[in-house]
């Protein structure tokens, strides 16, 4: 009887340990939304695209800030995008900064990423850009 209960307790302990180990190794971290950086030179136009265009094409920013870089003549509004994913064995991220001109147009960007390259995204189209055939 003692032996049976001891065995059952050991079994429970082992099972619990196995479940916890498996749970820990499969722990996944994910934060933010991954921005599609391929649109920065293809769909967005410097000094033409507006904040609304940027929000439509890239999505809402993760954060906002300002930049006064050495080549700027005045501080610029800056939007930041951040995405991170990882496990206990590896963790990678992408950060994208988007700069706006004084009059509120898209001016440029800087991004860096340790994520593997993303698959090409499906091009987003504004509802207003969809024209009925003649």
């Amino acid at each position: 009887m003692d032996f049976r209960r001891q065995s059952r307790a050991s079994f429970v302990a082992t099972l619990l340990a196995a479940l916890l180990v498996q749970g820990c190794t499969e722990l996944k971290v994910r934060a933010g939304q991954r921005p599609d950086v391929s649109v920065l030179e293809t769909q967005l136009r410097a000094n033409e695209s507006t904040r609304e265009d940027v929000r439509w094409i890239l999505g809402p920013p993760f954060g906002q800030g300002a930049a006064m870089l050495p080549f700027h003549d005045a501080p610029r509004e800056m939007w930041s995008y951040y995405y991170e994913e990882g496990t206990l064995t590896d963790d990678r991220r992408i950060m994208l900064l988007v700069y706006f001109s004084k009059d509120g147009h898209y001016e440029g960007y800087m991004w860096f990423s340790s994520l593997p390259p993303a698959a090409p995204a499906v091009k987003q189209t504004k509802a207003a850009d969809v024209r009925a055939p003649p």
Binding site: Q6, R92, G108, M110
Partner: protein
């Protein structure tokens, strides 16, 4: 008989606590610490990509910078090192700006342990 079952339950609890403490919150590190002390050897326009690879190693990622239409775009080589003990995380980030095959500049920043200690006093 009852004692044996209690012992088994204690073993299970201790195992769970140990796994929770040491298994789910281990010290982890990702990437390689950037050798920022070697950046002073680089000369814009003269140091080549191969020299940077030899000095800093393979970057962990890439990127691009085109902050203003009046400036030419630049490729970025991204180096990062992250370490965490489950309570705090420290980060070393280095961006190396490339103009074609040549070094064009860099930017790095890092969380510093001494700051954390003074901040936590």
């Amino acid at each position: 008989m009852r004692l044996a079952f209690v012992n088994g339950a204690i073993v299970a609890s201790v195992a769970a606590i140990l796994l929770t403490v040491s298994g789910c919150a281990p010290t982890v590190a990702y990437g390689v610490k950037p050798q920022t002390d070697r950046l002073s050897q680089f000369v814009p326009g003269q140091t080549k990509a191969a020299d940077i690879l030899l000095s800093l190693g393979e970057p962990r990622g890439k990127g691009a910078a085109h902050p203003s239409p009046g400036l030419p775009p630049r490729e970025i080589w991204f180096y990062e090192y992250v370490r965490s003990d489950g309570k705090t995380a420290n980060l070393d980030l280095l961006l190396v700006f490339m103009n074609g095959d040549s070094y064009d500049g860099h930017l790095w920043f890092s969380s510093v342990d001494t700051f954390k200690k003074s901040y936590n006093k």
